[in-house]
């Protein structure tokens, strides 16, 4: 009988990291499937639902094919041929590819979808191999570049938010029905920014299974809601502002799939809260002040840079620091809300 040294066989009290990847994978696939299926029943698309169905299915298909192809290329480069036949090899790439495509709008050409998936996977692999983390979230960064390079193809208009911007500017417009807003039955920025209910369930599931950190996502949602309600109060439409900011413009999609990506977000609880608050503040500020009604994408990139700064200056994690972080965040959010409210009615 031999004796060998071994790490203690502890039963750990957290989900294994591979299980977390599987949970995210199943949710991404379900959301992708439902975005194709559900939208065709909405009145907005009733005249041309076949085209919509086909195009969305093709976009999702392109995402899958491109991501799997890229993964195969990397596996061959690494000469790890055993991994080719294991489904687990492709999970991360498929997740990335699908999330990238879910960010794109209905009318995005297929070649743009393919290019974006290929580029984002290359960027992702490069960052992870060099730094074991992202400096900028690759999906968000590539999408941002797409909007600059192909503005004619990648349209980031979001009707409810556009209407809200007009309201802020004093132009009277009719608002999307709240129920349709929640169901995602309006012309939207991207195919993934869909049904609030689906994303809500995805959020709950991924939080319970420890895939996403509730401290980041929930803080972000609460801050966006608070600021939206606050700015809306100045226009005597707090509920409308709150609903529109939460249910449209990629807010929930970002909360579920983009913001709490662990490779680009901070790792201590205080910095997670500060990061989420910062992204929410930038989101609402951009949406209120500019015509760039989306805001979330740029805000996430700012947040990623802030993460890097945090990692250099925050050295401890304890109750006192947490309390101070929450306090400063509340004060900052309130000041920004009041400031934006006053500016928007001025």
């Amino acid at each position: 009988m031999k004796i060998k040294r071994m790490q203690p066989p502890l039963e750990r009290n957290s989900e294994m990291s591979f299980k977390r990847a599987i949970n995210l994978h199943s949710i991404v696939i379900i959301v992708s499937f439902l975005t194709i299926v559900l939208q065709v029943f909405y009145t907005y698309y009733s005249d041309h639902y076949i085209d919509v169905l086909l195009h969305r299915a093709l976009l999702i298909g392109i995402a899958l094919v491109s991501s799997i192809a890229m993964e195969i290329v990397f596996v061959i480069i690494k000469k790890d041929h055993k991994a080719l036949l294991e489904y687990s090899t492709y999970i991360t790439a498929i997740n990335t590819g699908l999330i990238m495509v879910l960010l794109l709008a209905d009318h995005t050409p297929l070649f743009i979808a393919a290019i974006s998936v290929i580029v984002v996977i290359i960027v992702q692999k490069w960052f992870l191999n060099r730094f074991e983390r992202y400096l900028l979230q690759p999906t968000v960064a590539v999408f941002f570049v797409l909007t600059l390079v192909f503005p004619m193809y990648v349209n980031i208009e979001s009707i409810p938010l556009v209407n809200l911007y007009h309201v802020v500017k004093g132009i009277e417009v009719s608002m999307v029905n709240p129920l349709q807003l929640v169901l995602g039955n309006y012309e939207m920025i991207s195919i993934g920014a869909a049904n609030t209910i689906i994303l809500g369930f995805a959020f709950i599931y991924l939080t319970v299974t420890n895939v996403i950190d509730m401290r980041i996502s929930l803080t972000y949602i609460i801050t966006v809601a608070f600021m939206a309600l606050g700015v809306g109060l100045f226009h005597r439409m707090p509920i409308t502002f709150g609903l529109i900011h939460l249910c449209s413009g990629l807010t929930l999609f970002a909360a579920v799939f983009l913001i709490s990506d662990s490779y680009s977000s901070p790792t201590s609880r205080e910095t997670k809260i500060a990061y989420a608050v910062a992204i929410a503040i930038v989101t609402i500020t951009l949406r209120t002040l500019t015509n760039g009604v989306d805001g979330v994408i740029f805000a996430i990139l700012i947040g990623n840079i802030i993460t890097f700064v945090f990692s250099r200056i925050i050295h401890r994690s304890n109750q006192a620091i947490l309390t101070r972080t929450i306090l400063y965040s509340c004060v900052t959010v309130t000041l920004f809300t009041v400031g934006l409210g006053i500016y928007s009615i001025a």
């Binding site: 009290n13 977390r20 790792t267």
Partner: protein, 408 residues
């Protein structure tokens, strides 16, 4: 929870290590064929500062000396005593009634009891240091498994409480606390009442989660960050203290928990100090029929792997885990931050690990790596099965070697 209790037969031969990791020099005062009694001094082990006796745990004849591997896998000299099974005791004066501080100290030193720390989990009973608090743990720890020795606590209640009083006399301490699992309040109610009568505060612990409760509890009781002025010990040490002072009995037996899926029986064993582990395993049923095993001594969080099963059970061995050998795949770090959340001292193990990987040793020092208490919780919670604690420990060493140099 281990409920199987076994008394291991006295071995025919007892092997007593002459040196330890801390006391690396030995001076023997016996020779081959000398007769010894329980409590006789066989040798003195020492370092630059202190000298302690090695005392016999059986009566019999010295048959020689040999080198054996200890549990640190170091080859050290052991004295071999052939047991005559007569248990002849050397007379040490008992102090059944009033006893002075110096008498207690002398007796504890004579029996080497002050060095009990159980693989670094508890603090030694450092008799010449200043101490302000005594905190006693009744919860036998084999993290993440937890065992509470209820019947033993009830049976030895008076000795345990007296042991606390004796130690309080040594340091003139009034702050005495005992930690009890909140699930055991009913079972231990007579003991709890006895503690309260003797002004020993009782603190109840919720054991449902692994969250560094020991450190938090000690910090809450003492309002101190470090354990410097705290006597953190357990009921076994108190029983030794009581028996040593009140009855003049040196520690000869050790309660050891043996667990794991590599052996047929998991049990709490009462073992004669000086018995090889292999003999204990044989007596409780032996190994299962497997090719490769792994032996881990001490708490899962803070203990260590051992490469031999023939080391000697001594005063500081309290837990041994023998399991089938498994290959574990470590996955890449997913930066979840669970290790940062669980750290009881408030440092950031993930950030330290990252800084170490980037060879940023000044940053490692800025992250207060020296405050790490090696509790192992960061490793325990890691979903990628990374031994984070090992990275932090290495970062500590490299940080001090290279971090200061870089700053210069």
């Amino acid at each position: 929870m281990i409920t199987n209790d076994k008394m291991i037969d006295q071995p025919a031969y007892v092997y007593l290590p002459l040196t330890t990791k801390k006391y690396s020099t030995a001076t023997t005062i016996v020779n081959k064929n000398d007769s010894v009694r329980i409590g006789d001094i066989i040798a003195y082990q020492s370092n630059d500062e202190d000298k302690y006796p090695v005392i016999s745990t059986v009566s019999g004849i010295i048959i020689g000396f040999e080198h054996r591997f200890d549990r640190f896998d170091q080859s050290i000299k052991h004295v071999i005593i052939k047991n005559d099974f007569k248990s002849v005791l050397k007379d040490y004066k008992p102090y059944p009634n009033d006893v002075t501080k110096s008498q207690i100290i002398t007796r504890l030193r004579a029996f080497h009891i002050e060095t009990i720390s159980y693989d670094g989990y508890y603090t030694p009973l450092a008799l010449d240091e200043k101490k302000d608090h005594i905190i006693v743990n009744t919860i036998f720890v084999n993290e993440p498994f937890v065992t509470v020795k209820n019947h033993r606590i009830t049976e030895y209640a008076k000795m345990i409480i007296d042991g606390i009083d004796l130690l309080a006399t040594v340091w003139n301490i009034t702050s005495k606390t005992i930690l009890i699992s909140q699930n055991m309040i009913d079972i231990l109610s007579p003991f709890i009442s006895a503690c309260e009568k003797k002004s020993v505060m009782v603190q109840y612990i919720d054991l449902r989660k692994m969250n560094g409760w020991q450190y938090q509890t000690v910090r809450n009781i003492t309002s101190q960050q470090s354990m410097e002025r705290v006597v953190w010990t357990d009921t076994e040490a108190l029983i030794y203290v009581n028996q040593a002072v009140r009855k003049g009995l040196p520690p000869t037996m050790r309660r050891v928990i043996l667990t794991g899926d590599g052996i047929t029986t998991n049990a709490m064993c009462t073992v004669r100090i000086g018995t090889p582990l292999s003999q204990v395993i044989e007596q409780i049923g032996g190994y299962l029929n497997i090719d490769t095993i792994s032996i881990h001594i001490g708490s899962y969080m803070t203990g260590q792997s051992v490469m031999n099963d023939d080391f000697i059970i001594d005063l500081t061995t309290h837990v041994v885990h023998i399991s089938k050998y498994y290959e574990y795949d470590t996955e890449p770090c997913i930066r979840c931050g669970d290790c940062n959340d669980i750290c009881p001292v408030g440092i950031l193990p993930h950030s330290i690990m990252e800084a170490k990987k980037q060879h940023d040793f000044p940053m490692v020092l800025k992250l207060d790596v020296d405050e790490c208490i090696a509790c192992g919780l960061c490793t325990y919670v890691c979903p990628s099965q990374i031994n984070v604690s090992q990275h932090v420990t290495l970062a500590k060493t490299l940080g001090y070697k290279r971090g200061n140099h870089n700053e210069d």
